[in-house]
Amino acid sequence: MSQGRFGIHGGQYIPETLMNAVIELEEAYNHYKQDPDFNRELTELLNEYAGRPSRLYFARKMTRDLGGAKIYLKREDLNHTGAHKINNVLGQALLAKKMGKTRLIAETGAGQHGVATATAAALLDMECVVFMGVEDTVRQALNVYRMRLLGAEVIPVATGTGTLKDAVSEAMREWTSRISDTHYCLGSVMGPHPFPTIVRDFQAVISREIREEMLKKEGRLPDAVIACVGGGSNAIGSFYHFIGDESVRLIGCEAAGRGVDTFETAATIATGRVGIFHGMKSYFCQDEDGQIAPVYSISAGLDYPGVGPEHAYLHDIGRAEYVPVTDDEAVNAFEYLARMEGIIPAIESAHAVSYAMKLAPAMSEDKIIVITISGRGDKDCAAIARYRGEDIHE
């Protein structure tokens, strides 16, 4: 069996044409992750350019309002480019540069990963092409403009459902046709090995910082860490350094769309089953013949029919819990956090906020919850306004 397994999940289910490319990537990564110069350069970029470490903010008003566990917000929304995506992109872009690549390609859903990739490409003088589902280019028009402003080419993908999964497929096709100068800067903990591991390692900075800061502030570990899960990169980054601490509940919030009892959902672990797609074995929303289902969520970043293989494994062994959150619940949480704390979260992150709003009152006041605010919500304002019946456009 191939490398890169998380229990039965993971693997390298990709065309032969790409095999040497992923092997080369793995070798380069294994070399550079131990290279002090690489790590120094990356840390400098993360700190000086992206603004790390991100804040672990005690949400006093929200805590008082919900009347239960203390709530901390891990503010990945304060990173440069407005989301956690930059953590992974700076790592991969620097790695690609060391490998002699001159061109980055990426998929994007909400546009946050595309913007981060376009940003890194501008900074490191690399060419950049971003694939984005045509539906998402409409939902997230502002991010399309940002990517172009940063010098990237944005290619709208009209195949399939015109969303994130189709953008991934098209980026994979593009990589198959141009490998020697091109690195596929995958945005989540998904795809073939070594991507789920590389992306997790670059995102693990989130839980490392939560852990250090929490020990400083509270002298102990949190009782629960909550994050939204599409492919699952901010969630695995938030969970990683707590996996060994059984006292810390790890909760991933999936996008249930209009509900897990409808077809208009993207809650993979709640409604999917094990399959093989986009280079990995994991849970996927699919029909009885293995055809990938056309999923739906108000959140373009969570609108994906699969989940990263390490999440599938954490689910299988019962180490992490995965809960569905509907569009309605996420929109309520989006508005709640704005009014309560003056923080507008990405609609993706609002899924995590929503579950915390249910959980916190059920926990006692001496308990601590951390919610990862994976991104900022400016990009979502027009769409949420429309959801509420206000016809505003960017």
């Binding site: 490398q3 990709i14 032969e16 399959g275 009885e288 013949d289 055809q291």
Partner: protein, 270 residues
């Protein structure tokens, strides 16, 4: 051993690819008969997949047409069972790993054997992952076809030594689809393959004209054509059997002009 080697015993093989159920199975049946009548040596039957990541736009569209017609894996099995009453030419399924996995690999592969399907091509199942299906394929005598690409380099020997049925040599980088030129040095790759196995080699991806087919047949044992046929199906729909048949005839004639695999003994003329 499956019947696949027979396909390469009568000189250079021509292998058409047809997406099942595009636009319906009656048309697929007519196309298979037309392919056999016009000299196809082996037929690659595509089981549609919703998100075929190794395909270019032409075959992607064929998958969508077939799936929007409501085609199911079990219907394709019944279709093959029906065809096998009189069609004896070797046939392989080409689909994606999830279609097999989701059906249940053991059930899928034993059904292949039962239907007289000789091999299985899964473009998202590289050498490292074939252990998932290979023991079941061996048990049932269904060849799991190995693919080799222009980027395989140091992997060619490893893949070739374990290859069964035939080797699917990908002509160039990228996904399936018609190409005006193929610039990969295929003869160098074929030479390394020959040093490691006597399993025949068929070249696919990007081949559409008789001239290209003849050139490819000169370096390998067979030629696979998909997108060019699917384009005709896209154009002629339910009436595509005749133009596809004529096209296959011209392609078979072109590949026949190249000399046969030296290591394969000539079989009986069929």
């Amino acid at each position: 051993m499956s019947k696949i080697k027979e396909a390469f015993r009568k000189g250079k093989a021509f292998i058409p690819f047809i997406t099942c159920g595009d636009p319906d199975l009656e048309t697929t049946a007519a196309l298979v008969r037309a392919a056999v009548a016009n000299g196809a040596d082996l037929i690659e039957l595509g089981i549609p997949f919703s998100d075929p990541t190794a395909e270019g736009p032409v075959i992607q569209a064929a998958n969508i047409r077939a799936l929007s017609g409501g085609i199911k894996t079990d219907q394709i099995f019944e279709f093959v069972r029906d065809m096998r009453r009189d069609i004896t030419v070797p046939m392989v399924f080409m689909t994606y790993a999830n279609v097999v996995f989701s059906y249940g690999a053991a059930g899928f592969i034993s059904t292949c054997r039962e239907l007289g399907i000789d091999g299985l091509i899964l473009p998202d199942l590289p050498f490292e992952e074939k252990g998932e299906f290979l023991p079941l394929c061996r048990e049932q005598g269904v060849d799991l076809i190995s693919m080799i690409a222009p980027t395989s380099e140091d992997r060619i020997g490893m893949i070739a030594r374990e290859a069964e049925g035939f080797i699917y040599l990908v002509s160039s980088l990228g996904v399936t689809g018609v190409r005006s030129r193929i610039t990969t040095d295929l003869s160098a790759i074929v030479q390394v393959i020959r040093e490691n196995t006597s399993v025949p080699v068929a070249v696919g991806f990007g081949i559409s004209t008789p001239d290209q087919a003849k050139k490819m047949a000169a370096v390998a044992d067979g030629v696979i054509v998909g997108s060019a046929i699917i384009k005709l199906m896209e154009q002629y729909g339910k009436e595509s059997a005749e133009p596809v048949g004529a096209y296959i005839k011209s392609m078979k004639e072109a590949v026949s002009q190249a000399a046969a695999h030296p290591d394969l003994p000539a079989g009986p003329d069929v």
